[in-house]
Subunit: 460 residues, 2 copies
């Protein structure tokens, strides 16, 4: 039976508790789309103390809570499909402090990624974690899934930029984890435990984020590659001399779709099975020369067919489009997505084995590969044949999943590189984490959330 | 009552279980020296499986275990003063794998830091975590305390270089945590939980460590500084343009002691209350010019009195000596050490307040400050007056500790920046971590080590 919401009204005020059907539908799901939202209500707290009061209320009334950021997740981590109360951080969207000498900025959890990026630029600094959903995703959600994106090869993951967290645990206690300290060797780092915990231990309400120096001359190299086996050599050669800020790849199939959908010319003359997009900060002539040297070495040794280097920021942006437009281009074909990772040295082996599996099981399915090959993160997109029923197609893909994940397991890979586990990947968690690990995770969860009210059913 | 060691003999072989008084004395303590070693025996396993068998044996017989690396710790984390069995990783000292394309190297936990640094150099790479004890400290121990050192400002802590861990938990289960993956969003990152856990959750037996590109032209600037208040400005100005690889400081008192003890000339003509040592990789003329520009700006604006820049690697090494020799120089005076941290913007305020406290409580005590000011990590050394009894001196210092830690707490600082908590800082843990945090830490410990056999009495 649903408890009365009267006391929640008192905690939040009338304007901050939503129960209209439209709101329930909107706040009850993320970008995953497979699940039917059915939350009890939507709470929009304005302070950490209000979040605490909600968690205490939920413990008293055995109500499950789903923390909700920008709801751009692709694994159903922010889905409320089981009568939960959604705690949306939308009203906690302020940047509340900035110390220029430490380059640390204090954000409420609901601050939008782009808002933080802009704040950094306004202060002649840079927040380097960037991805397609940065216009909607919130800092709290980014931290809860340890979001990655396109600059990881140079700047790391969200984890690497979090200097402090304020959280409300499942028990309803407020913790301040680290206080912006670079060095703090005083026991278990609970901050790192909350990063990537997908709202199952508590709710992140505030974070202190480190900023960094702006790049000055981002330069893009688009390369045509004869075979993926050669990418290892290519990556090694460039990384020996240059701090790459991005190292992306995509297939000729992806290239063709983007060119046709967006009416764009072929960016490099020579057609090839794969393309790599490299980005680096050409802070000196010396670095540009080194990059050209690597490029020539690749041409001579035939692990590069052809390539083009941007001569201006505008040209760099033009070249990025071929990579950035892929997701949107194929979205009309409702691709079945898998966000997976292996170590970069195993990418070629993995990709060939997955291609063989899909070709063998479903020769009529089209496969589009792209991703952050520099860090081993691949986005596998399987496209439904036009005539096929979508539910049937999804089911077929789910049948292939265990075959793919067996290969991943053998190679020590991850069934979720940067999208989290949520509901979608939960059935497959044991391909990446052992039974013993999962059991310890449950032990940790019990310590922080003994009544299992925090995002229950997600992760495990 | 002490259980029979027969079954341990069977697990390890006779040569790998030490019970001689000399061995017990040697393996029963670290560099902390305040504690009297009294272990039951010393086990020297050769494999992860042997470690597992020992942990299972210890659980059966309710024997406490103390994991032991290079025993260079300064907080008593590796002290066995209560009849424990020491598990020393000395025989697990091999580098067992290397993948050049990912720059990842697989080390057994007993690999010495310097051995890894040398391995990196031999492969034209670099392991950047470095500190005074790198000739003896082991990788496993470094990870268990999340060791920092002199290059943190540029390269981060040990945590930032650990790609995988193999551990045996207090329950006796072997876990492989992450497999070298850069992106792996599959639930709680237990790897990060073990980093800095000081052997209280389990024993680290193997680690995969990431290496990086070698610096090419490390250049040192030694600066004379009129007052510490100005260091913030100094740091900001250099960091705006340059990736500093080190930013150290020490006082004129430290300078005088080093010059006199080692018969060295004054490195910068002008005497000043404080000195900063900056290091950066001058990969291009451009960077050198920027550094000189920052230096001149400092002279003009009087936050730098004077300075000298190294013109060769040899000269850079000469300049480092003034900083590196401090610990050894003052060691004969048996300093009472405190390894503490605040955020870099609060260093000056903190230091002045501590100086005032010590001057007020014990005007006859000499205070030597030095440390990694770029990351806010200060080493406070209080020297005993010649005539004073050492036990009496220590007691006096311990009386000052709460006064200093109150200031630290107020400033959000840490009672242990990089030395860990162990036995020494345990009484003060609540100055940095809240009661609630400590209680969650205990909950986590109970999940991994329900019989409390792993390094009991350390940390909390």
């Amino acid at each position: 039976m649903q408890p009365s919401l009267d006391s929640l009204h008192q905690i939040l005020g009338a304007d901050s508790l939503l129960t209209e059907a439209d709101d329930l539908a909107q706040y009850g799901k993320d970008w995953t789309n497979q699940y039917t939202p059915s939350p009890m209500a939507i709470a929009l707290p304005k302070t950490t103390e209000q979040v605490q009061a909600i968690v205490q209320w939920a413990n008293e009334h055995s109500v499950s809570l789903v923390p909700s950021g920008g709801r751009t997740g692709l694994s159903g981590g922010a889905v409320a499909n089981n009568g939960e109360l959604v705690i949306a951080l939308d009203k906690m969207n302020k940047i509340v402090g900035f110390e220029s000498s430490t380059q640390q900025v204090q954000c409420q959890a609901g601050v939008i990624t782009e808002q933080l990026q802009q704040f950094a630029l306004d202060n002649n600094l840079y927040y380097p974690v960037d991805f397609a959903s940065s216009g909607s995703s919130q800092i709290g959600g980014n931290i809860a899934t340890n979001a990655g994106g396109i600059k990881v090869i140079r700047y790391g993951l969200t984890r690497d930029w979090v200097m402090s967290l304020t959280v409300v645990t499942g028990k309803g206690e407020i913790l301040t984890l680290n206080s912006g300290l670079i060095k703090n060797a005083t026991g278990y780092d609970l901050r790192h435990l909350f990063i990537g915990s997908e709202g199952t231990l508590g709710i992140i309400t505030e974070a202190t984020i480190k900023l960094t120096r702006q790049p000055t001359n981002l330069t893009v190299l688009m390369l045509a590659i004869p075979e993926l086996d050669k990418v290892k050599e290519l990556l090694n050669n460039f990384q020996k001399d240059i701090d790459l800020t991005a190292f992306e790849f995509f297939s000729e199939e992806a290239m063709q779709k983007v060119m046709s959908h967006h009416d764009l010319p072929r960016p490099v003359e020579t057609e090839a099975p794969f393309y790599c997009l490299l980005e680096f900060d050409a802070t000196s002539e010396d670095i540009l020369e080194k990059a050209l040297g690597c490029f020539e070495h690749g041409l001579e040794n035939e692990y590069i067919f052809d390539g083009v280097m941007s001569q201006s920021q505008q040209q760099a942006e033009e070249l990025w489009k071929y990579r950035e437009y892929i997701s949107e281009t194929i979205s009309s074909q409702k691709p079945y997505k898998n966000d997976i990772a292996v170590t970069p040295d195993k990418v070629s082996d993995f990709l060939q084995r997955v291609d063989a599996i899909v070709a063998n099981e479903y020769p009529e399915f089209e496969v589009i590969w792209f991703g952050h090959i520099g860090d081993g993160n691949l986005h596998l997109n399987i496209l439904a044949p036009d005539e096929m029923d979508y539910a049937e197609f999804t089911k077929a893909c789910e049948k292939v999943n265990p075959l793919i994940f067996e290969v991943l397991k053998e190679l020590g890979g991850s069934i979720s590189a940067e999208h989290g586990v949520g509901l979608l990947k939960k059935p497959y968690l044991n391909y990446t984490r052992s039974e013993a690990e999962i059991s310890y995770m449950k032990g940790i969860k019990a310590a922080f959330d003994p009544n299992n009210i925090m995002n229950p059913g997600k992760l495990f």
